[in-house]
Amino acid sequence: MKILEVKNLYSSINGANILEDINFDVNKGDVLAIIGPNGAGKTVLLKSLIGLIPYTGSIKWAQGIKTGYVPQRMDIETDVPLTVKEFFRLRGPSITDEKIQETLDFVQLDKRLLKKGFGEISIGQRQRVLVAWAVLGSPDVLLFDEPTADIDIAGQESIYKMLYHLQKNLGLTVILVSHDLNIVYRHAATVLCLNRKNLCYGAPKEVLSTEQLQSLYGGEKVFFQHKHHL
């Protein structure tokens, strides 16, 4: 079942075209990975999908679909006077302690974290808190903008495990911006290569040839397709 249909999507910021003629669909329960070099418009695409920034063209969500958004970065001070629990409570009065507890289990976070300051937890923990925050709104689709340099490899790996777990257990559809092609190969049903235009779209092993990746990332040999991985 189609949950999202994007046709002829254009987006510009301060007169500069960021996205040009983007087309793709997402099916229910799928994982769509958006990959591309820095400045390719990945975050812009994600934000257009949930109406955070203006665009032209058509973005059609299936009826009654709720989205949860996990931003790439957050510019907060380490001593911000806000506990993790209070951060969850900002969602509104419908957020009970039980709900928070249940969601923490989903993202594999210790409940002792609730008393900590939101600015003092590690970036990896914050990432999980943000995912939990999005999940608290019981979304059908989770849009996840991967943090680039802030998280170490082990941290990234476990975040993806957790996302995968959410997708399986809650039946969530996941749209994620990713930098890790290994992850894309292992978990994504479809991949969208982006460099302002859509350069490829399809199942990872079909569309992610070495040539394709070279043209996407501008000739750098960033990744080779290893047959035994597939």
Partner: protein, 258 residues
């Protein structure tokens, strides 16, 4: 004691609303903008005095127009808000100082809460209560807006509208406080209690309560001490507030290094 009961009440309520608002100004990191913003009230008050209408009204109108301007500029231009504030707001203080009749100038700059009439006092208290209720109603949305505009928007919060409401609340708080501490010191009434609370608070709740408690304590003590020693209340309030700030800063440093 009886003659200062009403000014004391006004000071306590005005300080409570200003310091509650201040906690969000600190979260939004607009401490300096807020301080300079209060200077804009001066030309408004000066014109009000010249044309013989209520200075509070003059201040409110000038502040409201200014914050609406800030709001438009924030969304329409790429100019840095700090620059605009630094240039135009200090200029408006200068203009205000020039056109303000000289015998009213000191009072406008440093405030004098005992000069309020009973009606003005009651209106100040009522408006402060309204401001506190409004802020308590929107504080979750405000905090989320300050932590991440995108997440706020993703759950359907209208950031633009919320920011306008916040700026207008700021204008009201400044107009209310200006008779107490004056145009020059008003920013401190908003900022110092919240900055003090931030030194020691880890949770939002402690931060907001702490800010209000510090503001109210300094205001009450300020009125009382200035009454006993026959001094202007505004500067006394600021000195007490700053002392509280230093004490909390010390507590913070001790906590960090212990």
């Amino acid at each position: 004691m009886q003659e200062i009961t009403l000014p004391l009440l006004v000071a306590v309520f005005v300080a409570a609303s200003a310091s509650l608002l201040g906690s969000f100004a600190i979260l939004k990191r607009m401490a300096l903008v807020g301080d300079a913003l209060s200077h804009v009230a001066l030309p408004g008050m000066a014109l009000a005095i010249l044309f013989k209408f209520n200075p509070f009204l003059g201040a409110v109108v000038f502040l409201a127009v200014t914050v609406a301007g800030i709001w438009v500029i924030e969304y329409r231009s790429s100019l840095s808000l700090e620059t605009i504030v630094g240039v135009f707001f200090t200029a408006s203080l200068a203009i205000g100082a020039l056109i303000m009749p000289e015998h009213d100038l000191i009072e406008a700059l440093f405030g004098n809460i005992t000069s309020l009439s009973t009606a003005e006092s009651l209106i100040s208290i009522a408006l402060s209560i309204i401001l506190i209720v409004l802020l308590m109603f929107i504080y979750k949305r405000l905090t989320l807006n300050m932590v991440s505009q995108e997440m706020a928007q993703s759950i359907g919060i209208n950031n633009k509208r919320l920011e306008l409401i916040f700026l207008l609340s700021f204008a009201l708080a400044v107009a209310l406080g200006i008779r107490f501490v004056g145009a020059l010191l008003m920013g401190s009434l908003v900022i110092i209690p919240a900055a003090s609370a931030k030194n020691i608070a880890k949770s939002l709740r402690a931060f907001m309560y702490g800010s209000v408690i510090f503001g109210v304590t300094a205001a009450g003590a300020g009125i009382y001490i200035s009454h006993i020693y026959k001094l202007t209340p505004g500067p006394i309030f600021i000195i007490i507030s700053a002392s509280i700030f230093l004490a909390t800063l010390l507590m913070r440093q001790i906590r960090i290094y212990s």
